[in-house]
């Protein structure tokens, strides 16, 4: 493309770069502000400077010295990982069936899962609260994992069935002819090809679980299962007159890190065009 159109292309490039820069700054500015706040000392917290005049790690030291935050971090990581794993495994199987098979009630299944995804979560909070209390699930890990799976599954099924539909069916027939059982064909041919889809779905589901506040605040009451977003809202200073802004900012930065790591780690595996070359192409 380079060189074609000369000045016009350059002009377009500049315009697009400018627009991109505006969008990126708009999106990242609040994040950077939080980062900045987290490094400020108590005295300079409200001075309105973007770049801290006094750098300090005091806020980080403070949040990690409380069991409240560390425990919440463990809860968050544990609950999000388990919910993601379960949702992806079941989602993969369901999506495969939806993409490949014609079974009675398929449309109903797809419709219902779409319905669940659209259901306002707030309307389920009170019933779930009552159900979990009577079942003894209230304020436990499973008590959060179960609703997370419920809402993550439709998302997983939708994303994954789109990926499965992209995989040529002939590959599966070829595997069968090569002597594979249906299970082997799925594990050794279909699943590896669907891997980018599985990782994409895993990221989406993990982010959904990690960010949830509504269920986490309604269905937990102690450190036993309280996740970071909720713990954050319970942050207070050491006295009631102290402003917890610095600690909240530090905690907010800390809980962003796993998401970034998760995305960076799996992004490398999301290689587009993995199926090219399977069929004539």
């Amino acid at each position: 493309m380079a060189g074609i159109g000369g000045a016009e292309t350059t002009g377009r490039k500049v315009r697009w770069s400018l627009l991109n820069a505006v969008v990126v700054v708009y999106a990242l500015f609040p994040v950077l502000w939080i980062v900045s706040l987290s490094f400020k000392s108590k005295a300079t917290l409200a001075d309105g400077n973007f770049i801290p005049r006094e750098w300090t790690l005091e806020n980080y030291r403070a949040i990690f010295s409380t069991t409240e935050f560390v425990r919440a971090l463990v809860n968050s990581i544990g609950i999000a990982l388990i919910a993601t794993a379960v949702a992806v495994v079941f989602g993969t199987m369901a999506a495969y069936a939806i993409a490949r098979l014609d079974f009675p009630g398929k449309r109903v299944l797809v419709g219902v899962s779409l319905l669940i995804a659209m259901f306002p979560q707030i309307s389920l909070v009170s019933p779930l609260f009552e159900i979990e209390r009577s079942l003894g699930l209230f304020d436990t890990w499973p008590g959060l994992i179960l609703p997370y799976i419920t809402f993550a599954l439709p998302l997983a099924i939708y994303t994954l069935s789109a990926f499965f539909r992209e995989i040529p069916w002939e590959l599966e027939k070829a595997a069968k002819m090569d002597g594979a059982t249906p299970g082997q064909a799925f594990r050794r041919v279909i699943a590896p090809l669907a891997a980018p889809g599985v990782f994409t779905t895993a990221i989406l589901v993990f982010i959904f679980c990690w960010n949830d506040f509504l269920f986490a605040i309604s269905l937990t009451s102690t450190e036993a299962s309280r996740t970071v977003p909720v713990a954050l809202s319970f942050f207070t200073g050491s006295s009631q007159f102290e402003d917890p802004t610095g600690s909240v900012a530090a905690a907010a930065v800390v809980i962003t890190i796993p998401i970034i790591l998760f995305v960076l780690f799996f992004q490398r595996r999301i290689v587009a065009g993995l199926t090219s070359g399977a069929v004539k192409g």
């Binding site: 069968k176 090569d178 090809l193 070359g277 069929v279 004539k280």
Partner: protein
């Protein structure tokens, strides 16, 4: 290696559509058999039923004497080459070819050895570590073949394996497929819609139409003795010429002129209880420039004069195209063949005729030419049933 027997095999879909109807084929051990027909004739369905990828509604399929209707594809010990090749994109060429052996839990040393052998046969040795996406069409096709041959299956099934290659490569691969099959001596069922592949590759050809077998036989036999109008029109390129004619007092009145019935044709017509209106079939090579025909031979044929529409000189022969006045031959079979060839919409009044003349012919485009043909070579068909009235077969 084994013989494959299809005994009244039928396929009916749940919606009631019948894809394959009472197919009887006996494929001998080591035989190379071709299923050919226009799209939708049931040839691929038949192949998938042999493979086990589709259920058999009724009838029996036997491989090596055993009924295999209920067996899963993996338990039938047959390999298949797909039209799209269906290579596993996440595996290298080597892994692709080793895959069937790995599934069969063959030990590593044997896998290495067999893959190496297959790669040598198919000239893939230097590509073993590449992924399918980095291979050319021809190489991918060879990998697909390699994956089929590594485990010495009882039979090969090939579903239009060459149709994705460009014309030149296709001719080249055609000979290598043929050579490979002879070398391995494995029973092979090959599906194609290309009659040239059918003629050149197979020991025997099965022509199918609308889910039913039309005729089974050696390529040359089908060419010389088609059982019906459909086979006659499908086999051969350029196709057989069809001209309507009326039978009157032992003479055929046709746009080509009056064709006297030879003793051979006459006796067959009597035996076949022929209708009065028939379709005359004549292969392009049965025509010749009248000037190049010996006087002695000339009397046994018919001569007509017409204007040459188009003359194509191939160097070795000349193809002369004519349009004769009169009605076109019409029948269900011919309409279907025309639709398959995509020529159904080509407007044309009169009878189109293709003739293959010697290179020495002096026929010129736009000029009148005198053309001769051998009256004993005519094949006569019943327009209503499509049956070949001059068929001397079983």
């Amino acid at each position: 290696m084994a013989e494959i027997v299809l005994d009244k095999v039928s396929k009916q879909y749940p919606d009631g559509a019948v894809a394959v109807r009472d197919v009887d084929i006996q494929i001998a051990d080591g035989e190379f058999i071709i299923l050919v027909g226009p799209s939708g004739c049931g040839k691929s369905t038949t192949l998938n039923m042999i493979a086990g990828l589709e259920d058999i509604t009724s009838g029996e399929l036997r491989i090596g004497g055993e009924r295999v209707n209920e067996r899963a594809p993996k338990d039938r010990d047959i390999a298949m080459v797909f039209q799209s090749y269906a290579l596993y994109p996440h595996m290298t060429v080597k892994e692709n070819m080793a895959f069937p052996l790995r599934l069969a839990k063959v030990d590593n040393a044997t896998v290495e050895k067999k893959v190496k052998e297959a790669a040598e046969i198919l000239d893939l040795t230097q590509h073993l570590d590449r992924k399918p996406s980095n291979l050319s069409g021809g190489q991918r096709q060879r990998v697909a073949m390699g994956r089929a041959i590594v485990r010495n299956p009882k039979a090969f099934l090939m579903d239009e394996p060459l149709s994705n290659l460009d014309a030149k490569l296709r001719v080249q691969m055609r000979t290598s497929v043929s050579r490979l099959q002879k070398q391995l001596g494995t029973t092979t069922v090959y599906v194609t819609h290309d009659q040239t592949e059918a003629m050149t590759l197979g020991d025997r050809v099965v022509v199918m139409r609308g889910g039913a077998v039309q005729q089974i036989g050696a390529p040359q036999y089908l060419y010389d003795h088609p059982a019906n109008l459909f086979v006659a029109g499908f086999i051969g390129s350029p196709a057989m010429n069809f001209v309507p004619a009326g039978l009157e007092n032992g003479t055929l009145r046709s746009p080509l002129g009056d064709i006297p019935l030879t003793a051979r044709v006459r006796s067959m017509l009597e035996a076949a209880d022929a209708p009065r209106e028939v379709i005359v079939g004549l292969r392009p090579e049965h025509f010749e420039d009248a000037r190049l025909v010996d006087e002695a031979v000339r009397d046994s044929g018919v001569t007509f004069t017409s204007q040459v529409d188009v003359l194509e000189s191939m160097g070795s022969d000349k193809f002369a195209y004519f349009t004769l006045s009169g009605e076109q031959a019409t029948s269900e079979e011919l309409a279907e063949l025309a639709a398959d060839a995509g020529s159904a919409d080509v407007p044309g009044s009169g009878v189109a005729l293709v003739t293959r003349l010697s290179a020495a012919s002096s026929a010129t485009q736009g000029e009148q030419a005198e053309i001769w043909f051998d009256a004993d070579k005519v094949q006569l068909f019943d327009p209503a049933t499509g049956r070949n009235l001059t068929y001397a077969g079983e």
